[in-house]
């Protein structure tokens, strides 16, 4: 495990718990593997590994109707596959949802197969008027609570995007 990663994961988990979120639905990305493990081991959460990212959108959107706070956790590639679910379910019915997403393909990402995410993820979010905020330092993790509250206020999804530096403990 990269030094510092578990501290950031712990901060994210604590901030998520502060929101009153109970359900975490996830699909892995190497950058969030320890974060997913942290949610899985924390008894304050019900962690549900899902078969595809759209299932996380469906599950978390349904959870809203039981008064259960929910978080969808996924990589950038997975988020890119969710445009249909987000715009049809969450936009049509105005269902709030918090998403934590990796900013793959950004500065520092050495994976060539994530170049497209670096090019198109933010423009895609802009194109569907998806509110998002970037966490590029551990000190900004507290924005998770703000984003969660904002999603409830606007009755729409809000994305919190994490850089490699934050998730991998790199400067």
């Amino acid at each position: 495990m990269v030094e510092g990663v578990s501290n950031v994961a712990a901060r994210i988990v604590e901030e998520t718990a502060k929101c009153g979120i109970k359900l975490v639905a996830s699909l892995p990305d190497t950058w969030i593997s320890d974060l997913i493990e942290a949610f899985d081991k924390d008894e304050r959460f019900i962690h549900v590994p899902v078969n595809r990212e759209e299932s996380a959108i469906g599950l978390c959107s349904g959870a809203f109707f039981s008064g259960t706070g929910a978080l969808a956790l996924m990589g950038a590639s997975g988020f890119m596959t969710c445009v249909y679910a987000l715009t049809k379910i969450n936009y049509t019915y105005q269902i709030p949802l918090l998403l934590l997403v990796t900013l793959r393909g950004g500065l520092g990402d050495r994976a060539k197969y994530h170049v497209s995410n670096g090019l198109y993820l933010k423009p895609l979010m802009d194109s569907i008027s998806m509110p998002y905020t970037i966490v590029d330092s551990p000190e900004k993790v507290s924005v998770i609570s703000t984003a969660y509250a904002h999603s409830r206020v606007i009755s729409r999804p809000v994305v919190v995007g994490f850089t490699r530096g934050v998730l991998r403990g790199e400067r």
């Binding site: 109970k22 359900l23 019900i46 549900v48 590994p49 899902v50 078969n51 595809r52 759209e54 299932s55 996380a56 959108i57 469906g58 599950l59 978390c60 959107s61 349904g62 959870a63 809203f64 109707f65 039981s66 008064g67 259960t68 929910a70 679910a85 049809k88 379910i89 936009y91 049509t92 019915y93 105005q94 269902i95 509250a149 409830r152 206020v153 009755s155």
Partner: protein, 199 residues
């Protein structure tokens, strides 16, 4: 069996269950039969996620049965939903697969591998223990109670004929449906869904 007769029978046994309908024939036929706009959520603006949506509800209101009706067109887009359902194993989630072997809401366009798809076997292969398949109204009437009334996650395949015509869509806009359904759950289950002031 005919979808209308099937839904009329099931709707006749509908008590306090929450109902989630997938896009197309499921939503439209349930609306035609029941005209309900509070206890049912017509997930017309989505394909393949009705059971996940229902699972999210069932998780948070464990004393309330949740009936989900998915079309097999939607199911084919995301059969892995059964893996998540099995993993969650929610005792109050009852998933009905309405199998008409076509894309019913798009003029009954062909479904891939339609005649050979064995949805019940797929569910069993994913470890779901209580799987039922009904291809006649008589069989449904005979075993409905044991299939649905008992606690435990259930996957039930309803083999129906294509409807053969376009049905009327439920007339509610998305936000109206959200508030009607959400307020009903608040009253039914005593949970708080809608925020007043957050902080």
């Amino acid at each position: 069996m005919k979808l209308r007769e099937c839904f009329e029978y099931i709707a006749g046994r509908w008590k306090s269950e929450l109902v989630i309908l997938s896009a197309g024939n499921c939503s439209e036929m349930w609306w035609e039969v029941t005209r309900d706009s509070e206890r049912a959520f017509y997930l017309e603006a989505s394909m393949s996620l009705a059971s996940m949506f229902g699972a999210g509800i069932a998780l948070g209101v464990p004393r309330t049965p949740v009936w989900v009706f998915s079309g097999d067109g939607a199911f084919c887009m995301n059969p892995g939903m059964l893996m998540v359902e099995r993993q969650m194993n929610l005792p109050n989630l009852k998933h009905f697969l309405v199998s008409n072997r076509c894309y019913g809401s798009t003029y009954e366009a062909r479904l891939p591998n339609a005649s050979a798809n064995d949805y019940a076997s797929m569910a069993r292969a994913m470890g779901i223990e209580r799987v039922y398949r009904f291809d006649s109204l008589d069989a449904l009437k005979r075993d409905f109670a044991s299939a649905v009334a008992q606690p435990g996650h259930v996957f039930t395949v309803l083999e129906v004929e294509p409807v053969g015509k376009k049905l009327e869509e439920p007339p509610m806009d998305g936000p109206e449906m959200k508030y009607r359904f959400g307020r009903y759950i608040e009253r039914l289950a005593g949970v708080r869904i809608f925020d007043g002031s957050l902080f």
